[in-house]
């Protein structure tokens, strides 16, 4: 355990020649589990990117097109997409040439496979965009607060505390309820209540304190290092120090936070959509699909299980890959964790 935590001599020797990114890549390659989940994530992305191809060439329907009264011809037999009692047709696989491959989504008779693919695009779009927004704002605030300290730090830290004081879900629901009705008008920015950017903005905003505070802490520590002093001694401006010296040293932290942020944003989006204040119908996301399927949980459990499983696999793959990325980019963080875990062992290696 301790050996694993200490970069070995060979690696150290090679490290002298290779850059930090190459070293990280080498470490990541050795982490087979992380790579496998990274591969799974790539497959999921490819799956959702193929949505228009599947919809146009195989299913011949869009994600929001309803087929409530339509009958499907399967091997000369006519099957109702939605039964008179409102039960949707189950998976047809390739029996109907790929139409209703996973069945219909509910009483509206929309193609479940098409919606699953398009829903994934929305969930990933929300996840990545919200995480990107969180990362950008949190990094900027963390840099400003950590570098300038003093009243700048006080103002930013207290503002973050205010947001932090509200539970994430409650704050998101409140914002979602308000913005879903009136939309958002912020100077030149005008968004209607049903815009997909509303949940992105909400999720992006509520997670800012959770990322900005650790970044600020890291900046506070980094700004005392010699390389910052050296840059300042050479007359570098504050902006130059923040973005030229400090930001590159924060890269590994930011990347790891970003990946975990994507997973958190996707989960929060699902939660908000389930509660009706996230992605607005008829747009679909895995969250709205879980909500829709939940209404028919007894008669068509697959409608909840499918988007739930996709969400689980995506979040799991991002989390495991993100963990691997953290280990690869900053092996010392793992070392710190292991030392903490093995604090009672007399041979514990000091950092």
């Amino acid at each position: 355990m301790r050996v694993a935590s200490q970069p070995n001599a060979e690696e150290a020797a090679r490290g002298a020649a290779a850059g930090p990114w190459r070293l990280a890549w080498r470490r990541l390659r050795r982490n087979r589990v992380a790579l496998a989940f990274g591969g799974l994530f790539v497959l999921i992305v490819l799956f959702v990117l193929a949505a228009p191809i599947w919809a146009d060439s195989v299913a011949h329907t869009g994600p929001n097109a309803t087929h409530t009264l339509q009958k499907l011809e399967v091997g000369g037999e006519k099957r109702e997409v939605v039964s008179p009692s409102g039960k949707p047709i189950g998976p047809q696989w390739f029996e109907a040439d790929g139409r209703f491959f996973l069945g219909a989504d509910g009483r509206l008779g929309r193609d479940e496979m098409v919606r699953l693919m398009y829903g994934g695009r929305t969930s990933l779009l929300v996840g990545f965009s919200a995480a990107l927004l969180t990362t950008a704002i949190a990094t900027l605030l963390g840099l400003l607060a950590g570098y300038y300290r003093g009243w700048t730090d006080t103002v930013i830290a207290r503002a973050l505390d205010v947001v932090w004081a509200f539970p994430v879900i409650l704050l998101s629901i409140a914002l979602g309820l308000v913005l879903a009705v009136g939309g958002l008008e912020l100077g030149p920015l005008e968004l209607s209540g049903s815009s997909i950017w509303i949940p992105i903005l909400i999720i992006g905003a509520v997670y800012v304190p959770y990322m900005a505070r650790p970044i600020r802490g890291e900046v506070l520590s980094l700004r005392e290092k010699e390389f910052v002093e050296a840059a300042e001694a050479q007359g570098a401006s504050a902006l130059r120090v923040m973005f030229g010296e400090l930001l590159p040293n924060l890269a590994s932290t930011i990347i790891v936070f970003f990946t975990l942020g994507v997973a958190n944003a996707m989960l929060l989006e699902s939660m908000l959509s389930f509660l009706g204040v996230g992605v607005q119908a008829p747009n679909t996301s895995w969250g709205t699909m879980i909500y829709g399927g939940f209404q028919l949980i007894a008669s068509a459990p697959l409608l909840t299980v499918l988007p739930g499983t996709m969400l689980l696999l995506t979040v799991l793959s991002i989390n495991v890959f993100g963990d691997g990325l953290r280990d690869a980019l900053d092996p010392r963080s793992k070392l710190r964790l292991e030392i903490h875990a093995g604090a009672n062992e007399p041979e514990g290696t000091a950092v």
Binding site: L69, S85, G86, L108, S194, V277, A281, P282
Partner: protein
């Protein structure tokens, strides 16, 4: 001769017993025992003057009686107002502004207090004192508005005489639906001096066949027979049955599937809740006619179109939308609980005459839209987030898109949906979903709030299509002053047609409810009133 006399005596005794039994309203089922039932949620109130949800109305329909009530029978007859605690229907005079009734003699509350005519005045005063949600129905009584403000000095338009039992009510203007309003639970008689506060935890004395005997708030409540019904009230109030069970025990079971399961296992006899949609087909197939029956409450589900704004300011566009919407598809979206209709008045409402001016025809719809050729095709479809209403609106949005309009859906939390769409300042109020429930079986309760120009208001608007046609407004106003009769019913049917020709909305169905009982209960005996729900006094064992 002696033998002949004995035979005559026996025949006489049998005949007397038969007459006696029929007077008691018995249909030959077993008497006594306990009726058990389940609700999905506890009633809003167990105080007749505060409850404004059907759960509460069902719970108190056979405990608190107003001066007028409804016949405890199924079908159109059940929508007819009959005397309750009053001897007869009111005598209406002074051009429809004075209602005179006489209280039946010898009535008693369940605590033994005699019922007096002056109790009507104190009951009306309590209604305003506790700010009852139903008080607006009675503001047309002379002096009521002033009393509502001051809560002092009595209501000058109500005169009572305890000796003769005479009650005279004077209205500020004729009001054709006032008899229906006198049959609401809000004005069920309570003893003078009943505290003007919510009495759910300890309900006030009753006048009906049952009284609420125990309340575990939020969980359960039960009834016992009113000890003064059999001797004092029952023989007088012949329109209300005495009830077959000695006790009724109701409790809250949140999960509707559990409620079904309990009925199937004979753990419960009745569920007030609608059967869950995904179990409906199985229940219908297995129990329809024996333990299950579909009921038609007084509601219409529809999509309104804002007639003040393009593109729906053009009747051709509205008619095109009516042709485009397929009520069969919506029936399926509601999993069979929706009974398709394409008119304003629901089945069971006096004045209802089946009508469908717009049978589904997409080609014709597109033709009409092409003729209208609206310049503004971007519209917002409003709905709330309750399932399957949100799905109905998603279907509607898809239909509008297929028709050639560019519709986007706006889903709002159900709690503030009507507040938002009833506010004229809300942007993009183009079209949307609406469910309208009438409080009593009088067609005016649909036309006045939904379609009269007088109902258009900046906030709290109920005329969602914002339709304002002077000649139809006048007709609604005129009919609203006249008590309901065959002539008025046919005029309301005509009004229904006139509005549907203008197509300010797309009515698509009545959301039905159900009676589901266990195999011990005689389904045919159970009476369902479209406004109040099930009458507990009509339940009997087979």
């Amino acid at each position: 001769m002696k033998k002949q006399g004995l035979v005559l005596l026996v025949i006489g005794l049998v005949a007397a017993s038969a007459i006696g039994l029929s007077a008691c309203g018995s249909s030959g089922g077993k008497e006594g025992g306990t009726l058990t039932g389940t609700y999905a949620s506890f009633p809003d109130y167990l105080d007749p003057q505060l409850s404004y949800l059907q759960e509460g109305w069902t719970a108190m329909y056979d405990t608190y009686l107003p001066l007028l009530t409804y016949k405890r029978v199924n079908g159109p007859e059940g929508s007819k107002v009959v005397p309750g605690l009053a001897e007869s229907l009111p005598k209406i005079g002074n051009g429809g502004k004075t209602y005179t009734l006489t209280l039946r003699k010898g009535l008693k509350y369940s605590d033994g207090t005699p019922v007096k005519a002056s109790d009507f005045a104190s009951t009306m005063e309590r209604l305003f004192k506790i700010n009852s949600p139903g008080s607006f129905y009675y503001e047309s009584i002379v002096g009521a508005e002033e009393f509502a403000k001051t809560k002092k000095g009595g209501i000058s338009g109500i005169k009572t005489d305890d000796k003769s039992g005479k009650i005279e009510i004077e209205l500020t203007a004729p009001r054709g639906s006032f008899s229906n309003e006198l049959a609401m639970l809000f004005v069920a008689l309570l003893p003078a001096g009943t505290p003007a506060k919510n009495l759910t935890a300890d309900p006030p004395p009753a006048t009906g066949p049952y009284m609420i005997s125990k309340v575990e708030k939020g969980r359960a409540w039960s009834y016992e027979r009113n000890p003064y019904w059999a001797k004092d009230n029952g023989p007088e109030v012949s329109e209300v049955p005495a009830g077959h069970f000695n006790k009724v025990e109701l409790r809250v079971v949140r999960n509707d599937a559990t409620q079904v399961n309990e009925i199937e296992r004979n753990k419960t006899m009745w569920m007030q809740t609608l059967v869950p949609s995904d179990q409906r087909e199985a229940i219908v197939n297995k129990y329809e006619g024996t333990q299950f029956r579909v009921e038609h409450p007084l509601n219409v589900y529809m999509f309104w179109m804002n007639t003040e704004k393009a593109p729906f300011d053009d009747p051709k566009v509205r008619q095109a939308v009516n042709y485009a919407v397929d009520t069969d598809a919506l029936e399926r979206i509601y999993a069979g609980s929706m009974a398709a209709t394409h008119q304003i008045l629901p089945q069971g409402m006096p004045g209802y005459e089946a009508l469908d001016l717009y049978p589904h025809d997409m080609a014709k719809a597109k033709e009409l839209l092409a003729e209208a050729n609206p310049s503004d095709r971007d519209i917002t479809v409003w709905t709330n987030n309750e399932n399957p209403n949100d799905e109905a609106a998603a279907y509607y949005q898809d239909v509008l898109d297929k028709l050639g309009l560019n519709a986007k859906l706006k889903t709002i939390n159900a709690d503030n949906y009507y507040t938002i769409i009833g506010n004229e300042k809300t942007p993009d109020l183009d079209t949307g979903w609406l469910a309208y429930f009438a409080d009593y079986p009088n067609p005016n309760s649909f036309f006045q709030p939904l379609l009269s120009g007088e109902s258009i208001a900046p906030t709290g608007n109920t005329n969602f299509p914002r339709i304002d046609v002077p000649e139809l407004n006048e007709k609604i106003a005129k009919l609203s002053e006249e008590p309901l009769g065959p002539e008025q019913e046919s005029e309301y049917a005509e009004l229904d047609r006139s509005f549907m020709e203008l197509a300010p909305m797309v009515p698509y169905g009545t959301n039905t409810t159900s009676t589901f009982v266990n195999d011990e209960i005689n389904l045919d005996g159970v009476v369902y009133n479209p406004a109040f729900g099930h009458s507990l006094a009509t339940f009997e064992l087979k």
